[in-house]
Symmetry: C2
Subunit: 154 residues, 2 copies
DNA sequence: ACTCTATAATCAAGTTACTTGATAATCAAG
DNA sequence: CTTGATTATCAAGTAACTTGATTATAGAGT
């Protein structure tokens, strides 16, 4: 018999657990590919977004832009990414994840992605709507508070 | 009008978005507290678990145990954590997050925690059960595949 | 068209944090 | 009570990061 309060706690804990295990997964994969933590984080973002740029990656990894440049040098040399010119703004650089690298790392990711897809497919439309709504709102909270902290930093 | 396939994709994307924004939040908070990335990650785990040990923190941060020792030295010196002896095993050390440090960092976290709790409270029991179930199973996928990758590393 | 300011990425020098391998202490099994 | 495994630490060498300057480009205002 679960009270509402118990359920609420359970959801909060489950969300935290997910965060913890995402980090552990990223670490395991990074170690497998011979990458350090920041390189792993960088590729994590690129695997989701496909394409990015040094500024965004600096923000995501928490590095300075200087450190990001040398990190991207390493990833480029190792064949994980490619730098391309941004045709709309010649100051900017586009960072693409290489398809071969994507294949290697995605082959590690594909297993869990497949499992996720199967899990999701097992829910009804109504349930999926509830889940999507929750995740979106939950993420929105995180976004807003990140913004507040960053504002406060200036 | 959303097809089931669209909904499934939406959930998958929303989960990824949550992961991305958790990282950005952690970075913002770390910068606010004058911590580097690994120190921030360490405190993130301690804020959830309250108490841990060097081995677990090494795994979580992706550091070697050597690097973990010096990182904990820094966090201890800065007053964020305390080392205590494990009474059950004298080789082991317990790492506790300091209440003052918890207060400082929790005051940053408390805002988003409060928002999360309010959000969660706005759902019905039935909805919360669906959400908790989904998050737990989703996390289980991640755990299993982390384990597979780690097995494969030996 | 032409400054001026802002932004993007890079680079070079100095600093910090990490890895590796060794060591000490303790535990648990035989 | 010996042996092998585990936990944390330490010391030396290496790798990655920060800071501040530099180059190139963009966009706004005159």
């Amino acid at each position: 018999m679960n009270s509402k309060a118990d359920l609420e706690k359970e959801v909060l804990m489950a969300a935290a657990e997910y965060g913890i295990n995402s980090v552990l997964f990223r670490n395991a994969m990074g170690r497998k590919l011979g990458l350090n933590i920041t390189e792993s984080e960088c590729l994590s973002l690129l695997r989701i977004k496909g394409i990015s740029n040094p500024t965004e990656l600096a923000r995501y990894t928490g590095l300075t832009t200087g450190a990001t440049t040398t990190m991207l040098d390493r990833l480029e040399k190792a064949g994980f990414i490619t730098r391309k010119h941004n045709p709309n703004d010649r100051r900017r650089v586009l960072i693409e994840i290489n398809s071969e690298a994507a294949v290697t790392s995605v082959s590690l990711v594909s297993g869990v992605q497949k499992a996720h897809k199967e899990l999701i497919a097992s829910y009804s439309d109504t349930e999926l709507e509830i889940i999507a709504d929750f995740l979106t709102r939950f993420t929105q909270n995180v976004k807003e508070h990140t913004h507040m902290i960053e504002q406060d930093l200036r």
